[in-house]
């Protein structure tokens, strides 16, 4: 087990290195740079050139890369050109928003997926199963952005039940109850919108997993032991079918990353996804590269987490 984790971590290192290289070269390839937006006829272009020089933008790419990665390794992603502050501080401001959004989404996802998946798998071919399957069927086909837009419109605008932007009401003091409540209130609609779509595959997976396991021979063994239906489900079927779901936990994180970009953009929620889109259009490369790298690392950690979870819960893997 430890071997596996260690090996996985060892594989991660070149992965992260490659990722950083890719990210960096990509940023270099983008047209324009942080100073492009600064078109001001009264500024001498020479002054801008001086700035470029000072920012190292005129060095050969590998020198720039080396500088960048060396600092990045120490957690220093440089300055955001646009926000005039260290990228890490900037991300620090946003990361908690995205973190809580993602966290709430995950919680909702599982809160929805597990009961629905169980009902639908256990009582398959009943009306409740058909209802749930109907939902997953539609949800599977509905693109997140359309669904989120509709949710925003209905609950945000039309009924005005939820805020339609921001992460917290202005003027509240961090740490107070009303601040936390307001934060929660702001992320409720985006998180729910994302969860309702994201949960679909989990529900489907859980359902088919349960149906699958229902027919496994060890379930027959349990029945032959005289275990009641509920015991058969709770002790044998659910344990086995929740296992892959637990293992997917890490990968869910990967899925969330794409989702947060769309969701944050639609709900004007100031998180890392929104920061990413803004920074892309403003060519704030230090932020873009840092974000991609961080999200990439999050994905890598997510898959590592999945492997670890799987290893922890599945004895067949643990043994190795």
């Amino acid at each position: 087990m430890w071997n596996i984790i260690l090996r996985r971590i060892m594989i991660m290192i070149p992965q992260i290195f490659l990722l950083s290289l890719l990210v960096f070269l990509m940023a270099k390839a983008m047209p324009g740079d942080a100073l492009t937006g600064l078109l001001d006829p009264s500024i001498d272009p020479k002054a801008l050139d001086e700035q470029r020089e000072r920012l190292g933008l005129n060095n050969p790419w590998y020198v720039q890369y080396w500088d960048w990665i060396r600092n990045a390794a120490q957690g220093d992603f440089g300055q955001s050109f646009r926000f005039k502050m260290p990228v890490m501080d900037l991300i620090g401001q946003r990361i908690s928003n995205t973190f809580w959004l993602a966290f709430a989404t995950l919680v909702f996802t599982y809160l929805i997926a597990i009961p629905l998946g169980i009902i639908s798998g256990r009582y398959n071919d009943t009306w409740s199963d058909r209802l749930i399957t109907g939902y997953t069927y539609l949800g599977f086909a509905a693109p997140l952005f359309i669904f989120a837009l509709v949710m925003l419109w209905i609950f945000g605008f039309h009924f005005g039940l939820f805020p339609t932007g921001g992460s917290v009401a202005p003027g509240l003091t961090p740490g107070t109850f009303s601040y936390v409540a307001s934060k929660f209130y702001h992320l409720l609609l985006p998180a729910l919108s994302m969860a309702l779509i994201a949960t679909v595959s989990t529900v489907q997976y859980l359902r088919s997993e349960i149906i699958d396991i229902k027919h496994k021979e060890f379930v027959l063994t349990a029945r032959a032991k005289g275990a009641s239906e509920s015991r058969v489900y709770n002790k044998h079927i659910l344990r086995n079918s929740l296992l892959p779901i637990a293992a997917f936990f890490g990968y869910e994180i990967t899925g969330l990353i794409g989702g947060t970009i769309i969701i944050e953009s639609i709900f004007s929620y100031p998180g890392m996804g929104q920061l990413f889109l803004n920074s892309i259009s403003l060519r704030d490369f230090s932020v873009v590269t840092a974000l991609v790298l961080i999200f990439g690392i999050a994905t890598i950690l997510g898959s590592l987490l999945s492997d670890i979870i799987l290893g922890l819960v599945d004895p067949r893997i643990r043994i190795k």
Binding site: T36, P45, G171, S268
Partner: protein, 585 residues
Amino acid sequence: ACSEKEAATPTPSTNTGDTKTEEKPANEEGVYSIDDFNNVKTNEGTAIEGGSITFGLVSDTAFEGTLNYNFYSGDPDVQVLGWFDEGLLTWDKDYVYTNDGAATYETSEDGKTFTLTIRDNVNWHDGKPVTAEDLQFAYEVIGNKAYDGPRYDSNFTSVVGMDEYHAGKAKTISGIKVLSEKQISITYKESTPSLLTGGVWTYPLAKHIFGDMDVAKMSSSKEVRETPIGFGPFKVETITPGESVTFVKNEDYWRGAPKLDKVTLKVINPTTVVQELKSGGVDLVDAFPTDQYKDNADMSNVEFLGAIDRAYTYIGFKLGTWDEANGKVVTNPDAKMADKNLRKAMWMAVDNDQVGKRFYNGLRWNATTLIPPSHPEFHDSNNPGVAYDPEAAKALLDEAGYKLDGEFRTNPDGSPLEINFVSMTGGDTAEPLARYYVQSWAAIGLKVNLEMVEFNSFYDRVGNTGKDDPNIDVYQAAWGVGIDVDPAGLYGRDALYNFSRFSSEKNDELLAKGVSAEAFDVEKRKEIYNEWQQYMVDEVPVFPTLYRAVVAPVNKRVMNYAIGDGTGIYLNDLAVNADKPVVAE
């Protein structure tokens, strides 16, 4: 020369505000005119004591949070800054410095030295007086090599001794002298009328706070980002980075304590602005998305204010290249677009009047010259520009030798003529508008290929870095215009941003005259600029397409509010006549 929002800044071809009014739309339904708007809110009822308002900063991005005039770079930050800080000088509606600001000024005989005297009761929010040294300090910081903001521009380089200071050869700036605690003089290398219109940097930097700080660290310091300080009517209370700021009144404000107790500023997405306004979630916004105006013109709980924006959209023709070594425009007489008849015909071919009415409901309108009506003194309203007349355009082309060969015209030498047109993406109308131009040109027989390019690539290729993309013949862009009317930064021979790369002796001469000593006489200056405007209409290196309006809805309960420059209404007067915003029916 510029300050605050005076710099000519590229404006994405759409967005930004325009205007309307409740009263009579023009002859056609859904078409409005800037003339029908007021820029000052009509007061109703009587103001209550105190009260608070919410100001919506309409933006789909967060504000950067560089909350100091000496460091900020984005427009959203200015919207925040305006509430709690200000410059020492104010200007009138013609953008000439006045003496009703926090300081008064005098010009020396030769017009090169400015002496500013700060009023005694002007104090920072922490109670310390705003001093001459604070202003000097601002110059020293911005002129420092390590300074990382975008302010080091002609406002500074034209100060005597600044070059030496910037290069590190001098410890102090010889042209700046602190005469007393509240008095300072600044000497410029040359006297130009531009100095009077925003050419002097008047934003002090609190030396007692920033004095010991490393210049390179200032812009990201806590004192800029988290606990910003100013001497404006309100004080910053809390900041949620990128999202919102709350202000409380500055009892010690030099014009007198503000009427309002509290102001909340929050960023609202353009998509939710209507909702917020209707529900009273915000009382006012900086600018209302023009494209939403038509559908909301009759919003019952607000009054829409309107003003002419200091900006215009234009179409440019690539006539040369940039010589990087010498920092000069090199005009190429053999360029594809070198024939001014061709250019003029292209101007004639487009019906900007209809474009303004249809796409912008009249909130953008046909532009005539390169000095927009936001500068009423210098905009030549008698110059009609070039009128829409496709038939005349065809005739002109025929005459110039661009013969029709089938559907499209050829060059005079018979070779096929294909014009590459590049326009920026962004906003709903960008693409149809560009396409409309292409259609219009096709209608007079010109084959124009359209390429839509995103902002950054656009400026990269148009010549932002001096490397012009030779495949671009025509482009559409926009400029925000500085407070100073001098167009040399955009059309001068040594201006990198002269993207058309047009140059001529006549042009050089006119631009030089516009800032010469004789131009201190406003009438004379007008004359010079009228001539320049006509010259550009004749030469058509670029042609303006649209002027634009800003519209700002204001909740009916708000009193003493105005948009635009030189209104004489200040934020400390701002008041409300009711506790709660009026809500739309």
